[in-house]
């Protein structure tokens, strides 16, 4: 945790309210996101209990599995989910922009970075879930459905799933995987969004509880719009409550029936709810009693609705922040990601493999590391509060220009290399000859080289570029005495490293080329899945 975050948290403890960590919004928010609040069944991995899903705040679609251990009902749920999610996801596929032929295309996959015109979707669908556990659940649903077969694809398949379920799995997998790229906004978890922009006085683990997190940020906790509280006593807390007390109330306040006022944001359910309410209702359902299914639907809805409202409320809070200047550029990378997967689906490519091969894994890691470095730089440049954190950490310094001394490089054609002395109260970790960077108007970056400390707090920087081609620097390209400048020790748009080999050129050190090359056929995928042979039988197996 950085010093400024520690400071913000300490301040939150002292004031009893969340402290802002940002002055602008650092993630893209779609005008029409799809909110998905899933619930899972305790003790049964990957068995959904229900979900609220939709793009309209007042009209969530309730999906419920009355008996999650019945796999037919499970796939009926997934089929219903596909009917909501896929039309939304596919709704963005056809409206495209044409990218002109260019050499450096922001965020485009390597195959499209250079060359002729290319199309990118004008907008992309955005999925919002309550917390990171729900994002993991999206991955799990994707994993459990993308390899399934439908009767249309294969009449022989022993356990066909409803149409479009495998396609849902592929999209959920793509969104789940993309969410691991720092700064991406295709799939966002509300708790992560909120903790990026506010610091509370509780631990990271406690911040995973959406209700508690909102309690800190949003005192007093407002009643969910248009929905009566789940239980009497679940309404807004009395005024004057501290964040910690409000969070405690949101986390563990229970009514006379023993149920939580604010159920957990899922996907796990409250055990008391499971045992005292849900289990008897399911028993009645199993016995075939009339009205039992409706009762379960009502119960599941009662657990989901507060979280649904909390997610939308979180969106309100975030929308109140202005968007950071470089957010749109990152969203463009997300649009490329969406377009890329749209193309793979259209081309009839098989679902994403169960495991990445060596080259794909290295490619993803490299891409995410570059994204992380770009994100860290962009957030600092977009937001003085984030930059303050970097300055406090010795990774940037700001101050007033005290002196500019014109100097020139040696060589046949002398180039301007002015020396700028900056008076700063910051304490940057500057190495001799270390590179420093400064943002110029129009999004350009000027590079400098640290020369020396000319006195306490007086850093001398030699400008090395961004001054045009002539002997005299272009106007406004060199700061003047009295200007405020901010230099960073980190690059503003770091590039990735060298390219990786093609998978078929995987070297011997990494096991050679993958055994089953990516043929565009499901048979190959199935063959790959059965590649893992069982462990050999040992003597201990017969004990």
């Amino acid at each position: 945790m950085s010093l400024i975050t520690t400071l913000a948290r300490a301040e939150a403890v002292a004031t009893g309210r969340a402290t802002p960590l940002a002055t602008v919004r650092h993630r893209y928010l779609s005008e029409r996101p799809l909110v998905l609040v899933p619930l899972t069944t305790a003790g049964e991995v990957g068995a959904p209990l229900g979900a609220l899903v939709g793009t309209v705040r007042e009209e969530p679609r309730l999906l419920v599995v009355p008996q999650p251990r019945d796999r037919d009902l499970r796939f009926a749920f997934l089929s219903e989910l596909a009917q909501v999610v896929l039309p939304y996801v596919e709704g963005y596929a056809d409206e495209v922009e044409v990218e002109p032929a260019t050499r450096n295309r922001v965020g485009a996959p390597p195959s499209r970075q250079a060359g002729g015109e290319s199309e990118v979707c004008a907008d992309a669908p955005q999925l919002i879930v309550p917390n990171s556990a729900a994002a993991d659940y999206v991955r799990l649903l994707g994993r459990s459905t993308r390899f399934r077969r439908t009767a249309e694809e294969d009449p022989e398949t022993p356990f066909p799933v409803p149409a479009r379920v495998p396609l849902l799995g592929r999209w959920l997998t793509h969104y789940g995987e993309r969410a691991r790229t720092p700064g991406s906004s295709l799939l966002l978890a509300m708790t992560e969004l909120l903790t990026r922009h506010w610091a509370t006085g509780q631990s990271d683990l406690e911040d995973q509880h959406l209700g508690a997190l909102l309690a800190w940020i949003d005192l007093p906790l407002s009643s969910p719009v248009g929905v009566p509280p789940a239980k009497p006593g679940g309404g807004p807390p009395p005024p004057g409550l501290s964040g910690a007390a409000a969070a405690r109330r949101a986390e563990s306040g229970r009514g006379a029936d023993g149920l939580l006022f604010f159920p957990p944001a899922g996907p796990a359910t409250d055990p008391v709810f499971d045992n005292t309410v849900l289990a008897p209702a399911m028993k009645r359902y199993d016995a075939g009693l009339t009205g039992a299914e409706q009762r379960i639907r009502d119960l599941v809805a009662s657990q989901l609705r507060p979280t649904w409202d909390a997610v939308w409320h979180g969106l309100d809070l975030l929308r109140a922040l202005g968007e950071g200047g470089r957010v749109e550029e990152r969203w463009k990378r997300d649009r490329w990601s969406y377009t890329g997967h749209r193309d793979r689906v259209r081309a009839g490519e098989p679902p994403q493999p169960r495991r990445d091969n060596a080259v794909a894994a290295a490619q993803k890691l490299a891409g995410r590391e570059t994204a992380q470095a770009r994100l860290a730089a962009a957030e600092a440049l977009d937001d003085p509060l984030v930059m303050a954190g970097r300055r406090l950490a010795g990774e940037a310094f700001a101050g007033e220009v005290a002196e500019v001394e014109m100097a020139y490089s040696e060589g046949k054609i002398p180039k301007p290399r002015p020396l700028v002395t900056v008076l700063t109260g910051d304490r940057p970790h500057l190495d001799p000859d270390g590179k420093v960077f400064r943002a110029l108007p129009e999004g350009k970056t000027q590079q400098g080289q640290f020369v020396e400390w000319a006195g306490p707090g007086a850093a001398v920087v030699r400008l090395v570029n961004g001054m045009g081609r002539g002997r005299e620097p272009e106007p406004a390209s060199v700061p003047e005495k009295g200007d405020r400048v901010c230099w960073t020790l980190f690059e503003h748009s770091p590039r990735g490293g060298a390219e990786l080999p093609d998978p078929e050129d995987t070297p011997w050190t990494h096991g050679g080329p993958p055994q089953a090359p990516g043929e565009a056929s499901l048979d190959t995928v199935n063959a790959m899945n059965s590649l893992d042979s069982p462990d050999p039988v040992t003597a201990e197996d017969y004990l």
């Binding site: 691991r180 990445d356 080259v359 894994a361 010795g394 970790h429 990786l500 070297p507 050190t509």
Partner: protein, 439 residues
């Protein structure tokens, strides 16, 4: 120097060179504890391969390592045509200008005639469309990430991998858990991936540390290399450190005397939770260094007798801001020329005396970062004579309150010892050389 140690080391080197020159395996792995002559081995292997009519590429991890290797190669054999491949914005160390046999270029094609071409892994990754080298030497292979090896392994047919398994593992700034347990986990070390896919490769070990004194080798070997022990190349009488100016009785002087006599010293400050740049501890480090230089230290070793000067002293910390704070404190007491850096940057370097700000000093918690075995191992194994640790009291209790809780991943080889245990082992040893001091 003990003859038995010399013979053991020579025999190990012969076996390694034999496997490299005449073996049939595509790779040879050499584990080298701190100061065991890894660089010497690399230079010798390179020269023998060239003598056998081969040309080879050498992969190291940082520009400083590459420059150092090129310098050593050129010094050992001024006739050897060496190529130094470098990036356009990272010029090689000017020290290479002194070697006419070293040719520098940013393009591999320019260096095709050189018998040995040296570059960082990151630079090699950009080399495309060249005839693969028959041989390669990969230096600091345990600090190289698996994905970096993936980028360069197509450039050579066979390779000698040399490195120290006890030092800091490579890391990633983003999560890589989704690949944990895969044989080619891109965030794992290159050697782990290499051996997972080629389990039959010959593995060797350099058995003797020439750097660590007899007082340090047993501790470092037991604490960090419990299953692959090594010994010191020198006996207890071969290295001595003494001061011309007697102790003034202060804490720093007493800990210096303890360290001079036993090779280890712990300056223990009163227990307290502090920010990372604990001003008292930082000042204590600066004072110890000041006194170390003021007291006219003399180091006697198998290399001869030499005065202890600032360039033979280093200060090691866990974090960069701590290093910056120590530098500022040293400047205040008028000390210059002492290397002050983090464990990551001190890797591979050697000094007579090191002063270490303990990674867990003053902390309220023990995170995986601060517990990492390699971090402590690097800090405790840079010295030829003595190591002085400055630390707040209470680290043993802190460790007991924070047992390792890293999740166990299927398919990932558990690394022994874990940082928790290694920290306890070192702490228990240091406790015998503790000087309690209230600044």
């Amino acid at each position: 120097m003990t003859t038995a140690a010399g013979e053991a080391a020579a025999a190990a080197t012969e076996r390694i060179l034999h496997d490299t020159l005449y073996g049939t395996a595509r790779g040879v792995v050499v584990d080298s504890p701190p100061g065991a002559g890894k660089s010497t081995l690399v230079v010798r292997a390179a020269r023998e391969l060239v003598a056998a009519g081969e040309s080879l590429m050498v992969v190291a991890q940082t520009n400083a390592q590459v420059d150092d290797l090129a310098d050593r190669l050129a010094t050992a054999d001024p006739e050897l045509p060496i190529g130094r491949l470098h990036g356009s914005d990272s010029l090689p160390d000017p020290v290479l200008d002194g070697h006419p046999s070293v040719m520098k270029s940013t393009k591999a094609g320019d260096l095709a005639q050189q018998k040995v071409v040296v570059a960082t892994a990151a630079k090699w990754a950009f080399v495309k469309d060249v005839e693969p080298w028959r041989h390669a030497i990969v230096d600091e292979a345990y600090q190289m990430r698996s994905d970096a090896l993936l980028q360069v392994a197509g450039l050579f047919e066979r390779a000698l991998f040399v490195g120290d398994p006890g030092q800091l593992d490579p890391f990633s700034v983003v999560g890589a858990d989704q690949w944990a347990g895969l044989s080619y986990d891109p965030s794992a070390s290159a050697v782990v991936t290499l051996l997972a896919h080629n389990p039959g490769l010959p593995q060797h070990r350099l058995p003797v540390s020439w750097r660590l004194p007899a007082s340090a080798a047993p501790l470092v070997s037991d604490a960090f290399y419990p299953y692959t022990p090594f010994r010191s190349g020198t006996g207890p009488e071969d290295r001595r450190l003494y001061f011309g100016v007697p102790s003034d009785g202060s804490g720093p002087d007493r800990v210096l005397d303890e360290a001079a006599a036993s090779g280890w010293g712990l300056l223990e400050l009163p227990a307290r939770h502090t920010p990372r740049t604990d001003p008292e501890a930082v000042r204590a480090v600066a004072l110890v260094v000041r006194r170390l230089l003021d007291r006219g230290g003399v180091a006697v070793s198998e290399r001869g007798t030499s005065p202890l000067t600032a360039d033979r002293v280093a200060v090691g910390t866990a974090h960069r801001d701590q290093a910056a704070a120590v530098r500022a404190a040293l400047a205040e007491v008028g000390v210059s020329g002492v290397a002050v850096d983090t464990a990551n940057r001190l890797q591979g370097r050697e000094f007579d005396v090191t002063v270490v700000l303990h990674p867990l000093s003053g902390r309220p918690d023990a995170t995986a970062f601060h517990l990492e075995t390699g971090r402590l191992c690097v800090l405790a194994s840079r010295h030829r004579h003595a190591c002085i640790v400055v630390c707040r009291a209470g680290v043993a209790e802190l460790l007991d309150e924070h047992p390792s809780t890293e999740p166990v991943q299927l398919g990932v080889t558990v690394k022994f010892p874990d940082g928790w245990e290694a920290n306890h082992a070192v702490l228990a040893h240091l406790a015998e050389h503790a000087v309690r001091w209230r600044p």
